[in-house]
Symmetry: C2
Amino acid sequence: MKLKVKDLDISTGRNLIAILNDEDARKLDLHALDRIKIFYGKKIETVILNIAETSKAVKPGEIGLVEEVMKSLGAKNNSLVDIMIARKPLSLEHIKKKLDGKTLTKKEIDQIIWDIVHNKLSDIELTYFVAACYARTMNMQETINLTKSIAYQGDVLRMNKYPIVDKHCIGGIPGNRTSPILVPIIASAGYTIPKTSSRSITSPAGTADTVEVLCPVSFDINRMKKIVSKTNGCLVWGGALNLAPADDKIIHVEKPLGIDAESQLLASILAKKLTVSSTHVIIDIPIGKNTKIENKKDALELKNKFETVGKAIGMHIEVVITSGDEPIGYGIGPALEAKDILYVLMRHPKRPLDLEDKCIMMAGKVFEMLGEKNGKKKAREILDSGKAYQKFKEIIKAQGGNPNITPDKIQVGKFRYQFKSRKTGKIFMINNYAISKISRIAGSPLDKGAGILLCKHVKDSIKKGEAIFEIYAGSKEKLDYARDIANEMDVVGIKNVERAYLS
Amino acid sequence: MKLKVKDLDISTGRNLIAILNDEDARKLDLHALDRIKIFYGKKIETVILNIAETSKAVKPGEIGLVEEVMKSLGAKNNSLVDIMIARKPLSLEHIKKKLDGKTLTKKEIDQIIWDIVHNKLSDIELTYFVAACYARTMNMQETINLTKSIAYQGDVLRMNKYPIVDKHCIGGIPGNRTSPILVPIIASAGYTIPKTSSRSITSPAGTADTVEVLCPVSFDINRMKKIVSKTNGCLVWGGALNLAPADDKIIHVEKPLGIDAESQLLASILAKKLTVSSTHVIIDIPIGKNTKIENKKDALELKNKFETVGKAIGMHIEVVITSGDEPIGYGIGPALEAKDILYVLMRHPKRPLDLEDKCIMMAGKVFEMLGEKNGKKKAREILDSGKAYQKFKEIIKAQGGNPNITPDKIQVGKFRYQFKSRKTGKIFMINNYAISKISRIAGSPLDKGAGILLCKHVKDSIKKGEAIFEIYAGSKEKLDYARDIANEMDVVGIKNVERAYLS
């Protein structure tokens, strides 16, 4: 049966979908969510079928195709295509097996990930996989196989170097921008650190958003390799690379329920490290309210699992458990964070010491993992000597930015509001969630200059009328809206000092 | 922010979806799968957000709406609407709770089913619910609550009668068309039996498809009530009624993985019975190869569960375990099955005795459930007396059909092919799956006259060259295709009689 293509003019971003009219579907004994093969000239594409119940969108004799399928077939509006029913993907049997609580083999996991990478699974089917891994916990061997499968089905950066250092933070703390300081410290010591980072999804800035204030961050894998060959390091956006493509698709269906199966958390993080051939990885687990991991016990269990999987995939892993109780540094939002980074690297008096200390601690751990002694001392010396700053400038330049940029040249939002204390006392709490929310309302990360500048940290004393933080925005409207939200939320907790003594 | 409506001219059948351009979504800090409220005049609708990455389908400043949302808002192309972010449905927390292996309360189950009925959950979210019920088995109390929740969130037929009889078969056997014979037997004995049936999804015919050969089957609930008030019974299509609407939506996402959590199987069947206020229900579980339940042990366990849930919801349930080893009756496909039914009711010499015996056995069980003695005897007498046939004619007439139709007036496919035996021997196997497949390829259930007429059953002797079955189709092409498939498959097993004696 020949069908006339109707270009639906819609992109799904992922799923390969065709729509048949109900009448044709009945004739052909096809049902919603069946797979069909579409033949156009020499091209064949397997797609998931939807059924149009009215003939408004797709008339009898037509087949509606989304952009992804139009492109894959090279078909045009009104092209004539043939169709036939196709088998279900093999991996559906494996997904059902896992949902039944059985253990998956390496081959079965590879097949599932292949089908995910090649868009062969519908959202419903992919959700069953995620639900199965969540409800029927994967064992260590399955987690290891999943990690490798996610990593090696996509591009891999091979540097022909040893060791290759990497770093990851299990997110949630505003301003926790250690990578742009850590990378130049490690790289200037002669080690290779090809760092990929994400953009923000729900936070005021991801590392990629912040670094982008100073230089481009989107490169393909060959360009990334050149940058690293030249400077020992890089600070690029992982999303522009085809690294571990299954991971993003899995995360897409995890979001609605906010679940994150431990096997998938481990596999997701370590697969990304495998894709850049990392051998030595430091992982930062901040604990505190509103962070992913809320207490030390859970953090220690996770640390243990990271180390076990790491061992199995030939990766040295060092986990540090840090405080996630309040934002780190002063700036929140891409431009304000970029200023903090430059302050630290340039040894500026305005530099945030909490951020500096954390970077030195972590770089020190990395040096000690690599067999050096007094790692912290070495890290501090590199920073104090200006070598880290020099290396940072090299990387900025290699990525196409201006290496001579100074903090005062970084533009922040024109509109500013000072949030002042209504009493004198001591700060005992800064709410990470509120800080993120206000920054985002002010416009970050899309408006690079928008965000928050903290004037105080926890344990600092404050006087009535003194600024606790400042909001920056690119427009008056956004500033007003962010200010209103700030006034509604419990952003900062201040104890009356006398009362504090009593309590 | 005002957005201009773009009518996407697409119907999802279920999900309420809006599409924003990527640029606008970033500005508004909205993400794929977020919920937004759309305001148009006094109308408000909550929808799930998708993001268009190019501006081809939805340009910046536009919001693309599917038909379901256009209709609900009463919006037109280019209407201006406002949007704001909406909370996630409450039931997501409950679904996560079940996925974590915890027990759901009645209130939580009601909330989930409410959100399903009102299209508040995306396919991904609904899939998590189904996966949770499957991987984290629901206990009896949860299953009971689920059953009630599915039943009472939708229309309910209240007849003000007692008892109300009903019947269900846990499908899979071609030709097993007992309802159109059972309903008139029960109804002519003075009992109320408001039978709803399904259309075929993957079989050659559903009861509704077969009855439709003789009379209309699509009615609303008021019309159904009138038919039952008049005749004590009916044979209508459940799909035309708004009975247990959550059930179809759950089945939609079960299909891709072919899973059917036991709690959902029980709830799905018994909820449909609750919606017609049934008090006495007979359930037929055929066991055999390629049926839903393959062995007696599983059938007995399921029987036990049916009885437990039944008790809890105040329903008398009798489960009969029957043979599902081969098709029942001679005809497979709507018209051929309708002929069989008339043959039995009219006491015609050509009537299929296996179908007749099964109906008498089941009707007998029903009578005994209702406190009568010698149920089978009574059922046979009603059938022999012609009372059942008279009642059937009444029902056909009440549903708007011609009560005087005779089997020879029922049109079957013009094109016929006789499948002949290649040897002499005894039939030991007829493959249900192959019979279904060939009938569907021949055109059933859409072509009412298409299907298979069995000339022999298991244990019958056959001579070389004698017809085993005939295929009927509405076109030469379909007949040829069905014939080719029949020749490729193992449809019938014939033992050489001598060899049979030896084995």
